[in-house]
Amino acid sequence: MSQRMRNALVDTTLVGSVVLLLVFFYAPITTLVAFSFTSSRVLTLPIEGFSLQWYGELFNKPDFLPAVLNSAAVSTISTLFATVLGTAGAVAWVRYRFRLQGVFRGLTFAPLLFPQLLLGVVMLLWFSVLGSWLGFSTGLVTVIIGHVVYITPFALVVVAVQVYGFDETLEDAARDAGASGWEVFREITFPLLWPGIFSAAIFSFLLSWGNFYVSYSLAGTARTLPIFVYSGIAVGSSPIYPALATVNLVPALLLVIVAEVLRRRALKRQASSIATS
């Protein structure tokens, strides 16, 4: 085989592996979307006819809307906490050097290396013991705490990428011009880090929204959306779950695209400003 042919073969294999990976990733997702529009109750091919009835049925299910509201509350609050804590953590990781930094890094990164189920179990034990002492039981609040612990390291990593490319001469300039510490943060630091923080928030929100393991361990009797799906499919499959997946998909995809575009544009701008300065 000639060198050129061999190279062409390597290129095709490599590109093919990405295509196959995308097919693999999207096989269950497209399957769900396709089956959400079926008119029959059984989820097998071929799809007999088109209908939107399962969307109606989904919204008429009595425990669906409470689960949505619970998920929305949990995701919003844990996103807020995870993003703020993750941003502070990212700055401390990348820009600062301090005593016990190794301990700080290990502590803030470790939840990422933990199987979610074990994270949930460990926290469940703690909350149960604490609850029996202080007289509370697990519920949405403990789910939120669990999500914050699980999601913050992800947010930290996403923001850290942005902090890494940060141009601090702008801060110096503002300080020289007489800005106070808070003004420098508000006018320079935050706007420059904003795209990273924003995509960390989107990332956090979707991780929380789709989280099953931690919620399942810590929710007690409360139900979030993934728990609703899990207990539903344990009883029997129904086209309302594909419908739910499809409803989930569109806003999530839009959020991911907006966050990525913003973050990339900002990183590019930073790279060029560093190159010219």
Partner: protein, 291 residues
């Protein structure tokens, strides 16, 4: 990037670092220690009794049943590591070196699939793998005999789900270590007369080792806790450690036992992590294997 030295006497610095540190101590470190403490307690009539007793640990170490499941979990985790790395490496390599035009779009697609609700994605796999599912339907229309695959409710089904849910992690780590490689090193290898394939094995692969190892260890550790896949796609026929742990909490209401099994699993993961870290640190990636 300028690095700033900070002292713990600086109140602004403490205000930045302390909240996160406190959250992690109160809701991660302390629970972990509490789990360790709980393994030395016992239960009576489904209620926790505070003693200091090795009863649970003797039970854990004397029942082969637990260890069969632990071994199966570790075996599944190792297979999952091999498969995910084999799938992720070529794709990450292609993404880092080829595909310049569609790179952003592909990355967004991967991130999005990664962030989609795992329960729903796993349910999607049921629809594909079912005896009357999409996979068999497609195969039948390609001329294969009907109901050729029977993967749902088998360990293979579990493995497909695990690989699916975890393959993005090594994708990210390997990609990040590949894009950090200095292209000049590869050009130098070409100048010295090395072929593309030789350059790959002597320069690129050794330099991507940190990403390779961290991705592999991440998959290993995370698959130790796989619960959804063996339950939903494996049909509970060959349970993994996570199922054992849940049972000891939910069915048997035996917290100390659940805590002990959790600690066993955490220890296995931590040992693997430490071994991997030692391996990476001991062999600096110089881009040359020792002759």
């Amino acid at each position: 990037m300028r690095i700033e030295r900070k002292s713990w006497n600086d109140p602004v610095f403490v205000a930045t670092v302390a909240p996160l540190a406190l959250v992690m101590v109160a809701f991660f470190l302390v629970p972990l220690l509490m789990t360790a403490v709980l393994t030395f307690q016992t239960t009576q009539y489904y209620r926790l009794v505070w003693t200091w007793d090795l009863k649970i640990w003797t039970e854990v170490f004397s029942k082969p049943h637990y260890w069969t499941i632990m071994m199966r979990t570790v075996a599944m985790a190792l297979i999952c590591v091999v498969l995910t790395v084999l799938i992720a490496f070529p794709a990450a390599y292609a993404l880092a070196t080829r595909l310049k035009t569609f790179k952003t779009q592909i990355q967004i697609l991967i991130i999005f699939a990664f962030l989609t609700d795992a329960v729903l994605k796993t349910f999607g796999w049921i629809l594909i793998l079912d005896k009357n599912g999409v996979a068999n339907w497609l195969l039948m229309h390609l001329g294969f005999p009907p109901e050729m695959l029977n993967l749902l409710f088998t360990p293979t089904g579990t493995m497909i789900g695990m690989v699916y849910n975890l393959v993005a992690y090594p994708m990210f780590t390997i990609y990040l270590s590949l894009v950090r490689i200095d292209r000049d090193l590869m050009l130098a290898a070409y100048d010295a007369g090395a072929s593309r394939i030789r350059t790959f094995f002597e320069v690129t692969l050794p330099l991507s080792r940190p990403g390779l190892y961290s991705g592999a260890v991440l998959v290993f550790v995370l698959s130790l806790g796989a619960f959804l896949e063996p339950k939903v796609l494996g049909g509970g026929t060959s349970p993994l450690a996570s199922e054992l742990i849940r049972q000891s909490f939910e069915t048997r209401v035996n917290w100390p036992l659940g805590a002990a099994l959790t600690m066993v699993l955490i220890t296995i993961g931590a040992l693997m992590l430490a071994a991997c870290a030692a391996f990476v640190l001991r062999r600096p990636s110089t881009g040359r294997r020792p002759a």
